[in-house]
């Protein structure tokens, strides 16, 4: 006989009691380890999805500019380590109209899908994606669709669909020669050749990590090149200019796979080096044009304008080679005119901005003067050639009127006029003024024979072109007729794309032109492709380790372990309370045995150690079994995420991933919690006298004074907790408690919610404790059912701690269920309101092709081919409609819809109009005009500019983990190109997943992003003061969406009701809440089990009392009523306490718009819990009255 024997005997003898504790531990372990497994599963699934999504592709390059397809071969054809696949990666829109059957008299509506990822690919890509096993790369005019696209279009294999895709323009569309109002989209009719099942990785191919299914279509690379004029052109008699095929993307697969980001970055560096060696000036759209007649060469761009970074490199290289240079900015003058004589004019001429000092000597000068002087030229001074002087009939000292187009924000071309002082007239023939090298070559303009043949994108008044103008063109082409200082030209005509049209460079002394040009070209190219080259960065001509980044991002923006831990918090709490309650019941039942051990001389510590060891053994066994249950629980949760709760993560490609670490951690946490609970339960033995224990007393005997004092203390604690809760709620409502991050991704509001919840639950339990200690609880008076009921209530106070713990179980589970129900939001109930997540708008739209023109004006709409002359209803709607455009730089989806870790979210450029308009609900942004914060530029400690941004709270707090005042480095913290500073946060807005900056800053940062691609559509008649509003009717709202999608179909314009977009975001939140509610329901189940156990125990302990009452004439029904009263009292207290606590904690949310509490279903759940609890009590009564009265009395 030793203590081990005693423990073993106790374990086996009291197996029923231990089994109950064991089940509690199993539940706790299952929930804790299960939460960790869910986290592992999501993480590993995301990793697997990344691997499937990218196939063998390791590195990707996706540029907004086009370069030679041959680069892929030049860089990697002879490389055994890497293989490359050329591609075109673009956005597009799809249209499909089902054709009626032969004898069918029906017209089917056109179905449109916008913002589709269009990939022009060849067999290389297909094999790289390992897709060639199950499918074939598209050929000819076939298009391969991902299942999601096919589903949305409702199209099947063999049917024809239309693809609208933006036509690439070498000259930016929002510049004068950029082709703004030309056809911007190409319509391609294609036959659906194959529909890719979602299981195939290629159906989910994406360059940025996102678990949501992308809208992917694949078109043969050569077909797409042909349609977009990117195909190879071989020189012919008809077209003497040869041109290589072009692409804008490349995928590279490495023979040696590497999942480590650092190793992958090294591999990407090696790939980038190969790329750099293969690039030529042509790939940058640059050329060096030689002018042997004047012995210099010129650096020009096919974009017409040299971007600043490129010009800087050119300038630097020329300096290094000691070559003289002359920067030039030319612009098209619509006309020059004598200020007082409208008949003296010259149409469509070039004016050049130059540094006149560069023109003093050969080869750029000198200018020969016919009249006037070139000394000290001022800002308003101009120098003209003799041809122009003759046309406008003026000379040196006269004034000259110059008209030219400006390019407006919305692509409009207002004509500006300026007056210049003519300082000199230049001789033309045979002089530097006749140099054609001032103007870079522009296809369709400088290479045509007649002004009338110009392929210009704006309207020309050809009627005013004179014979003299034609003669000049024939003789001198685009040679400037006038010159201003470079600074004057740049102040008038430079754009965000650059401030020079060419850089003319003369060979160093003694070096031949060809040799000098070659020297320059080599050195210039070397600097262009150098690592960290600004030009490479701005063109995004760099490979990224996409697979490694995707695998790193799989760590996830949301820690699902933590999330499910949080979800399960109250379930774990319930399990812990249940373990404590059951263990306590077990100890109480063995009180006499404990007393005996003490009486025979075992020290209190020995007694407690014996009990403790017993508990630990039960806990350990429970933990081990619980680990198995955890796997089952996690499997159920993962199944739930793939099915019932698919809204939370939006993918079915999840699998259960079990790691020993998670199981061990879950086991340890659960065992430690259970052990702590058991130790706390054992504390009750500490204060109990042995004599009392021997007599079966397990409640500490208290004098009435002590009892009153205990009641007073409980009331005091309860009052403090209640006041604290009210103060916290008021703090949140008044904005004193911020919504910023407190810790670990939890905002102060969430912290306040938990504190209010815990404080209110504590208050309710302390109030109950105080009441049970008071005289009121013991007062038995009255007659009939009321009297019996009072007796029932008195019984509740007999085992005060038992009653309080049971109520605690019920209350905490009720709290979860009610709080979750109160947390639901329904955007459908949110009407357009200025201070809300919809900002007063009705629709949100995105276009595949950027729109330049203003949809709010007839002129803008007309330029977009939206003519409403024959559609009075449309015209009326268009007039009532207000469209706020945003410039957009697509990035990763940083909304809650994406569970990958995001780095570079989509950026929106906010127009001044929107900044003025304001609206939307902000969180913790306590300034009168939050949008105006976007116009305040800042600097960091090093004096570098920091750009102010606004973002949605969810995006900032949970995806990017940045609060107000924090800076975000783009593209990463290690090597930032620029920094953004969070100035304010939207609250539950449609802008989830994006960051907003002023359009001015946007255009500076992303000069290549043209026009607008994101739109908010509202009602022009909507009153901005919010006091009264005029909204579109539902039919008008729907009509607007239809009209916009139809009229702007070629731009891939995709309109979505703003409520639907918000609903998508809220679906995630609501789904999480649903998950939470389910787990809360399990907690309530545990609570009900706990209460039922307590009631059964109470009734069994009182069996003799009940027998006695039966003996003296109480019927079974009356006894049932008595027990039910007690049970109902505890149940109702728990349910009401949980409900009030939850409603108070959720008070701030309930007062916001969009709160959509399912009162009925929530109430029904609570009623169901009440009924189940009452049935359990009834079962306890039935058990108690089952034994005959006499034997029960005798047994006692």
């Amino acid at each position: 006989m030793n203590s081990k024997t005693l423990i073993l005997r106790s374990l086996t003898y009291y197996w029923r009691t231990h089994l109950a504790v064991l089940l509690g531990v199993i539940a706790g372990t299952a929930v804790i380890a299960g939460a960790l497994i869910v986290g592992d599963s999501v993480r590993d699934s995301l990793r697997q999805m990344t691997l499937e999504r990218l196939g063998r592709v390791d590195h990707t390059l996706s540029s907004h500019r086009f370069f030679r397809q041959a680069v892929a071969d030049d860089a990697f054809a002879d490389d055994e380590t890497y293989s490359a696949a050329p591609a075109l990666v673009m956005f597009g829109g799809l249209e499909y109209q089902k054709q009626p059957a032969e004898h069918e008299d029906a017209t089917y509506p056109t179905v449109r899908v916008g913002k589709v990822n269009v990939y022009g690919v060849d067999d290389n890509f297909w094999s790289m994606m390992k897709a060639d096993e199950g499918s074939k790369a598209p050929t000819a005019f076939n298009i391969t669709l991902s299942q999601r696209v096919a589903d949305q279009l409702r199209v099947s294999v063999g049917e024809e669909i239309t693809l609208w895709i933006e036509i690439p323009s070498s000259i930016p569309r929002d510049t004068l020669l950029g082709g703004g109002d030309d056809q911007t989209s190409q319509e391609i009719i294609l036959t659906v050749g194959e529909i890719l099942r979602e299981e195939l990785g290629v159906a989910r191919f994406a360059l940025t990590p996102n678990q949501q299914l992308p809208l992917n279509v694949y078109v043969p690379l050569d077909t797409l090149q042909n349609e977009l004029d990117l195909q190879e052109i071989t020189a012919s008699r008809r077209n003497p200019t040869a041109r290589p095929a072009r692409i804008n993307a490349m995928m590279v697969a490495a023979t040696r796979q590497s999942s480590l980001l650092t190793e992958a970055q090294r591999s990407a560096d090696a790939v980038n080096e190969s790329l750099a060696n293969a690039l030529t000036l042509e790939d940058f759209g640059l050329r060096v044009r030689k002018y042997p007649e004047r012995d210099y060469f010129s650096l020009e761009s096919e974009r017409m304008i040299l971007d600043n970074a490129t010009a800087d490199v050119g300038h630097r290289v020329a300096e290094e080679l000691k070559m003289k240079q002359s920067p030039v900015l030319v612009y098209l003058a619509n006309y020059f005119m004598h200020p007082d004589n409208p008949d003296a004019f010259s149409m469509y001429s070039i004016v050049a901005g130059v540094d006149f000092e560069d023109l003093d000597a050969s080869p750029f000068g000198p200018f020969e003067l016919k009249d006037g002087s070139l000394e000290k030229l001022d800002h308003d001074d101009i120098v003209i050639n003799e041809w122009l002087a003759e046309d406008v009939q003026i000379g040196a000292g006269d004034s000259l009127k110059l008209a030219f187009h400006m390019v407006g924000d919305h692509g409009e071309l207002p004509e500006e006029e300026g007056y210049f002082d003519v300082r000199a007239v230049l001789k033309l023939d045979g002089t530097a003024a006749a140099d054609r090298g001032f103007t870079p070559e522009v296809q369709g303009i400088t290479d045509v024979d007649d002004i009338g043949d110009w392929d210009q994108p704006f309207e020309m008044d050809l009627d005013r072109v004179t014979d003299r103008d034609d003669e000049y063109w024939e003789a001198y082409r685009a040679t400037p007729k006038a010159f201003v200082s470079l600074s004057t030209a740049q102040s008038l005509w430079s754009s965000r794309y650059g401030k020079l049209t060419s850089l003319r460079i003369a060979p160093a002394d003694g070096v031949a032109l060809d040799e000098a040009a070659q020297q320059f070209e080599e050195k210039f190219l070397a600097q262009l492709v150098a690592k960290d080259s600004e030009v490479m960065k701005s063109m995004v001509l760099q490979f990224q380790p996409t697979k490694a980044q995707g695998l790193a991002a799989a760590a996830g923006t949301q820690d699902f372990s933590g999330l499910f831990f949080g979800f399960s918090f109250f379930l774990i709490l319930s399990a812990a309370i249940l373990i404590g309650l059951l263990f306590r019941l077990a100890i109480e039942r063995r009180g006499r045995s404990v007393g005996l051990l003490s009486a025979v001389g075992l020290a209190p510590t020995q007694v407690r150690r014996l009990m403790d060891t017993e508990g630990v053994i039960v806990v350990l066994i429970g933990g081990v079994v619980g680990v198995g249950a955890a796997i089952a629980y996690a499997s159920l949760m993962v199944y739930g995420l793939k099915t019932w709760w698919i809204g939370a993560i939006g993918t079915r490609f999840l699998f259960v991933s079990i790691t020993p670490q998670s199981l061990t951690i879950g086991f340890c946490i659960a065992v430690i919690i259970a052990w702590i609970v058991i130790r706390l339960s054992l504390r009750l033995l500490r204060d109990l006298p042995t004599r009392g224990l021997l007599a079966g007393n397990t409640e500490k005997p208290l004098s009435e004074d002590d009892q009153r004092e205990r009641g007073r203390r409980a009331t005091k604690t309860a009052t403090i907790c209640t006041v604290t809760s009210l103060v916290l709620v008021a703090g949140v409502l008044m904005g004193i408690i911020p919504a910023t991050e407190a810790f670990g991704g939890f905002s102060w509001h969430v912290v306040a919610f938990f504190l209010v919840g815990i404080a209110m639950l504590t208050a309710s339990l302390r109030f109950l404790s105080a009441w049970l200690d008071s005289d009121h609880s013991g007062a038995v008076s009255g007659s009939g059912l009321l009297g019996i009921g009072r007796l029932g209530l008195r019984n509740a106070s007999r085992n005060r701690q038992r009653s309080v713990l049971s109520v605690g179980l019920i209350a905490s589970a009720t709290f979860v269920i009610v709080a979750v129900a109160a947390g639901r939001r329904n955007p459908a109930v949110e009407t357009p309101q200025l201070v809300s997540g919809n900002g007063g708008f009705i629709h949100v739209a995105e276009s595949s092709t950027p729109l330049l023109y203003d949809l709010n004006t007839d002129e803008g709409r007309n330029k977009l081919d939206w003519i409403t002359d024959d559609e009075p209803e449309e015209a009326e709607l268009a007039k009532k409609m207000e469209v706020i455009p945003f410039a957009m730089k697509p990035g990763e989806n940083a909304s809650c819809l994406n569970i990958y870790q995001t780095r570079l979210p989509t950026i929106l450029g906010v127009t001044d109009e929107m900044i003025q308009r304001g609206s939307f609900k902000f969180a913790d942004t306590r300034v009168e005009r939050p949008w105006a914060l976007l116009t305040q530029n800042h600097e960091d400690e090093d004096g570098a500019p920091v750009i102010p941004v606004l973002g949605d709270m969810n995006t900032l707090m949970y995806s990017l983990k940045k609060g107000i005042g924090k800076t975000i480095s783009i593209p990463n913290d290690e090597n930032p190109d620029y920094k953004l500073k969070v100035m304010g946060m939207f609250d539950g807005s449609v802008f989830q997943g994006m960051l907003m900056m002023s359009e001015a800053n946007f255009r500076k940062l992303y000069p290549e992003q043209v026009g607008y691609q994101y739109f908010l559509i509202g009602d022009r008649r909507f009153r901005r003061d919010g006091t009264a509003s005029h909204h579109f009717t539902p039919s008008e709202t729907q009509k607007i969406a239809e009209v916009l999608e139809t009229r702007l179909g070629s731009y891939g314009f995709d309109v979505e009701p703003i409520g639907d977009r918000l609903a998508d975001f809220l679906a995630v939140q609501n789904t999480y809440l649903q998950t939470f509610q389910t787990l809360g329901g399990l907690g309530l189940l545990l609570g009900t089990i706990g209460l039922a156990t307590v009631m059964l125990r109470n009734v069994l302990e009182r069996r003799s009392e009940l027998a006695l009452m039966r003996a003296i004439g109480f019927g079974t029904s009356k006894l049932a009523v008595m027990v039910m009263w007690e049970n109902a009292f505890l149940l109702v207290w728990g349910l009401v306490a949980g409900t009030i606590s939850a409603l108070l904690a959720m008070g701030p949310h309930l007062l916001t718009t969009g709160a959509d509490v399912p009162w009925l279903s929530g109430g029904l759940i609570l009623l169901l819990v009440f009924l189940v609890g009452m049935v359990a009590a009834l079962a306890a009564v039935a058990e108690a009255v089952r034994t005959p009265i006499v034997s029960t009395l005798r047994a006692q």
Binding site: M1, N2, S3, T5, L6, R9, S10, T12, Y13, Y14, R592, S593, G595, L596, L597, S598, A599, V600, G601, L602, A603, P604, T605, Q606, P689, T690, R691, L694, S703, E704
Partner: protein, 223 residues
């Protein structure tokens, strides 16, 4: 000095009507081998006196000395050890551990000092043999009759050869015949082991068989 000396012992309990005095200056002195039966009406303080003598309760005033030691000067752990070494209990409710066998129940006090040696097991078996339960050593309490259970409790009280055995209504739950045999056993074993035996009982018959008989009246013990 006597082996057990209880002097001027008082014990008060709190009650709504103020302190309730149960013992008011009770005295008792005993030496090894002596046996005392204490009787008195319900609520007279018999069990209170017994539990104080057994160190399971503390007096409000007065002193207790067992083998020359004031046990109430010891801390909790020392007191438990003292009780284990010097005192044995027999309760009205036998208080056997239902999960343990007869032999294990007898050996229970030995657990306080660690593992049980073979000799101690032999001694327990001997005691059980002495009370006529040699063939029941492996049985569980639930398999025994009331008298048998109480005999096991007596063996448990004596296993550590205590100086003092305290019996609280040891025959209260037994029929007359069984009560008589248990009483006899207590007295015989007490004598054999040269221990002091105090037995609290309502049974005048049992009390009459004890060499000394005290009555508690008005909180004082009268012999």
């Amino acid at each position: 000095m006597s082996d057990l000396s209880v002097q001027d012992l008082s014990k008060d309990f709190a009650s709504p009507a103020g302190p309730l005095s149960v013992l008011r200056g009770a005295d008792l002195a005993m030496d090894r081998g002596e046996a005392v039966a204490i009787t008195g009406p319900s609520g007279s303080g018999k069990s209170t006196l017994l539990y104080i003598a057994g160190t399971l309760d503390e007096p409000s005033s007065g002193s207790v000395s067992i083998d020359g030691v004031n046990p109430f000067e010891k801390d909790e752990t020392e007191l438990a050890s003292f009780r284990n070494q010097h005192i044995g209990f027999v309760f009205q409710d036998h208080h056997l551990l239902p999960q343990c066998s007869v032999l294990e129940n007898v050996l229970l006090p030995m657990l306080a000092s660690g593992n049980v040696a073979k000799e101690e097991e032999a001694r327990a078996a001997e005691l059980l043999d002495r009370v006529g339960l040699a063939d029941r050593v492996t049985h569980r309490p639930a398999q025994l009759s009331g008298g048998e259970r109480q005999r096991v409790a007596v063996c448990r009280a004596l296993i550590n050869q205590p100086l003092l055995v305290l019996a609280d209504e040891p025959t209260g739950n037994l029929d007359r015949e069984t009560a008589e045999s248990v009483g006899t056993l207590l007295l015989e074993l007490g004598k054999e082991q040269n221990t002091m035996l105090i037995c609290v009982t309502h049974s005048e018959e049992l009390a009459g068989r004890f060499p000394r008989h005290g009555r508690l009246r008005d909180g004082k013990l009268e012999e």
